[in-house]
Amino acid sequence: MKSIYLNSKNVFIDTVNSKDYIQLDRVSIIYQSLKNSIQKPLKMILLYGKPGTGKSMFLTKLHNDLSPSQNIYLYKTPILDESEFYKLLAQDIFETKYSGELNFTQFIKIVNSKKLESIPVVLLDEAQLYSQALMEKIRLLSDTRTIKFVITLHKTQKEDLIAKEHFKTRIWETIELKNSSKTELKIYIQKKLMKANCFDTANIFTEKTVHKIHKLTRGNYRDTNKLLYTLFDLFLSYEERNRFDKIPTNKIPTKYIEMAAIQTGLIDA
């Protein structure tokens, strides 16, 4: 018989899958706001927030939701080479294969030669990894109003600088994603588990347990996923060692949460 903890553990594998998207009130409002912004004639939309706040998930969800009705292209991993970047966009958006080096001028020529019915939307994740020169080219591209860019940035001092210097006058909409509150975190955990039919494990997350998890992860979704994955892995390890007395039935002892936090590095022990 498959352990319930194994299913629960797999729920918290850190993957960016739109199917795993959890509908939370505040997040839903933000998502709707982003969707509306895309419909507006904006040059560029900046989505920023700390790592693990769900930026990538947002872009994935947006891509999945809008792809049937709109020309939308998602680039999860940054294309660091400038020529490759232009070649990829030319191929995906304008269906133009280009052999050899493609520079910015040549790419603009392609963009101007191809007249599209609707403005394509390009979603660029981890934009902070793009070079400053390439970011400047992206700005120039967005100024032509032939391509709409939605970029995500990690909110750090460096990224703030990028935002200020390159997009200050050009970005029309900025959306910040924040860590979850305690209530949101509880809903997030329970919804995630119940979505995978792990009702028993969903019920053992009491207010106190979630409070402890929130304290350790500060409501960060990625850290929460990591912590809960390790927590269920811990229960599985006890189960495999036939130490059933250690496995909780109605609530999770703080000790196990702390042990999982030590294992994941959230606690420095």
């Binding site: 390790t230 892995d233 811990l234 599985l236 390890s237 006890y238 495999e240 060692r241 000790k255 702390e258 042990m259 030590i262 294992q263 606690i267 022990a269």
Partner: protein, 246 residues
């Protein structure tokens, strides 16, 4: 699969590490409170003592009275001793009991148990006799032991403060013991210290008679009678002359 034993060990280490500052703080706080309270209580005790001595003398007096009254109720004999002590300190020692000793041989022969320590307790005993007779307390026993030691003690005291009462006591004691020479000497010393003490004249006269100096005794008594008109001296003179006292 996780390395559970290692993880548990790490967790235990983490818990100790996280609680350590609190434990240290708690210990320090406890120590500070203990030290502070120790000094605080010692200071407050001093303040209370000062207050007691300065501000509440009436209360303490009242308390003392109450205590004395209580002790009187419980131990009436002790009260009489204390009160009589005060009288003896102020007045000159009464030697009338010696007379009674002389007259009443039965009392003289009674085995008297005597407290060893000082003369004052002896004086207490003298005065204690009165309440004993009055109240007829059967439990009191007067202890008198080792007369020669008592004499030595009184002799020592007399050398220190030259009290005529002591010298008279010595004279009487020596007279009782049959040492008439010493008795006459101490009677004379008493007389030199205070000529108004009648007993010193009488003991001196009696001692002279006992030493065979009857004429000298008669002469002495006549001189004293002419000055003091003492009836006791006159009686003694008649007794000597008639040969009743030898």
């Amino acid at each position: 699969m996780l390395n559970i034993p290692d993880l548990e060990k790490r967790w235990l280490h983490y818990k100790i590490k996280s609680f350590l500052p609190y434990i240290i703080t708690l210990i320090f706080t406890f120590l500070i409170i203990t030290i502070y309270s120790f000094f605080d209580t010692s200071n407050s005790k001093k303040i209370i003592k000062i207050k007691e001595t300065k501000n509440t003398p009436a209360v303490t007096k009242e308390k003392k009275k109450i205590i004395i009254q209580k002790s009187l109720q419980k131990k009436p004999l002790q009260k009489t001793i204390n009160s009589s002590e005060k009288h003896t300190l102020k007045l000159s020692p009464s030697m009338s009991f010696i007379k009674t000793i002389q007259r009443d041989k039965a009392i003289e022969k009674r085995p008297v148990k005597y407290k060893k320590t000082k003369l004052k307790p002896i004086q207490k005993v003298e005065i204690e006799l009165k309440p004993i007779h009055k109240k007829q307390v059967p439990t009191i026993t007067i202890m008198r032991q080792n007369t020669s030691k008592d004499i030595q003690n009184i002799l020592h005291r007399f050398k220190e403060d030259k009290n005529p009462a002591l010298s008279l006591f010595l004279a009487k004691n020596y007279y009782e013991l049959g040492d008439y020479k010493k008795a006459s000497n101490y009677a004379l010393i008493t007389n030199q210290l205070n000529k108004k003490i009648e007993d010193s004249w009488l003991i001196f006269a009696k001692s002279l008679v006992k030493m065979g100096k009857k004429e000298k005794a008669i002469q002495l008594l006549q001189e004293y009678i002419s000055k003091s008109h003492s009836t006791n001296a006159a009686i003694l003179l008649d007794n000597i002359k008639s040969g009743e006292f030898q």
